[in-house]
Symmetry: C2
Subunit: 221 residues, 2 copies
């Protein structure tokens, strides 16, 4: 299944790196802890990193009721957000061909504030379980007061595109003989061993859902 | 030295985490390979990750002449961009207190296209030396044709703010006795051992500027 190509998501530069395949796009979203939301205040576009969750074709974000970014989003019908993983730095013999390998996604979606307690709880459950799978089962759920203080926003994905750059270092043929070193520096974002927040927690066994998360991501997200 | 607090950079939520100190802001920018640029096309705000460079109070980005993002920026007087490092995931006993530790910067600056060959070269040198310090000395400089095909944009920082979250996991007092595990999962972005792009490059010694970069960042940017 693919997202339709529209004027908003069709890649023009580097089109060979683009994919509209839903499975690939969802996989990159699901391996990202943070997305970057773009929004407009007084005519200026800002970008802000934030945790999020995905369930099927919907994304969820949350913030306090006074949050500047979610307030701006609710004035817009649509939102665009992006995620990005840097995978490698590519050093060519010419300055011109230096570049990076990466996985990125851009999503354009419709914004809706969730109002009922049931919908807000489901949105927050999706965010917490995106943060660490199964975590929702192993923490205290939000109470009435916390729910009232939290704004939960649903973003229905309308169009999306991923770009995946994973090629080797390139150089012009006439540069190959130059006596400059050319190669790659791999980059990874990894998690390290989890630890309890105090002595009481450190005396407990680290739960399975936390160890599963650690083992899945210790060699890279 | 501090950046002035204006309506555009003053942090309202989580103000205790904010710093306007130039040294701290520059340090976070300099440890970032990628910034995220916010821009507007047909009324919708987008965010796009891109390499950049910093020299004193100016940032530089580049792209092809047809690049959609740089074209949009040149229609604006100002631009906002952000960088973000995820440092830790904080898992509290309540869903409500889950959060992350991070270092982030938001910059608002004036946009100017560099037109002369000299200015463009200096901008590109700053970008390449931000990518890997001293790299400019060890690669072929852009020729006339490459320079003509490249747009170089200078962003003069007008205001900026960093947010640094590095506190431990918090819980409400009444939740402390709950039988849920609470703790932290440290996150790092690291570089791994550089390697030559082909057998010829692999037979050479890895140059000092590359090894220096590796040693500085192998335990985290």
């Amino acid at each position: 299944m693919e997202f339709d190509k529209t004027s908003k998501n069709t890649v023009k530069r580097g089109a060979k790196k683009a994919t509209y395949n839903k499975k690939e796009i969802y996989a990159i979203l699901d391996s990202s802890e943070i997305c970057t939301i773009a929004f407009i205040i007084n005519g200026l576009a800002y970008s802000q990193p934030i945790n999020f969750g995905r369930k099927n074709n919907k994304l969820y974000i949350h913030g306090s009721l006074q949050n500047r970014m979610t307030s701006a989003l609710l004035k817009q019908e649509e939102v665009s957000l992006s995620v990005f993983h840097l995978d490698s730095m590519k050093l060519s013999k010419s300055a011109f061909h230096h570049s990076v390998n990466y996985r990125s996604v851009v999503v354009i979606g419709k914004v809706k504030e969730l109002k009922s307690e049931k919908d807000k709880l489901e949105g927050l459950e999706t965010i917490i379980n995106h943060f660490v799978p199964n975590r929702w089962e192993y923490c205290r759920k939000p109470n009435k007061k916390e729910l009232q203080a939290t704004r939960v926003i649903e973003i229905s994905i309308e169009s999306a595109v991923a770009k995946i750059a994973n090629a080797g270092v390139t150089d012009n043929k006439e540069d190959e003989q130059l006596d400059f070193w050319a190669g790659e520096i791999p980059i990874k974002t990894v998690c390290e061993l989890p630890f309890g927040k105090n002595k009481i927690e450190q005396s407990k066994e680290i739960p399975k859902h936390i160890l599963d998360f650690y083992n899945r991501n210790k060699n890279g997200f």
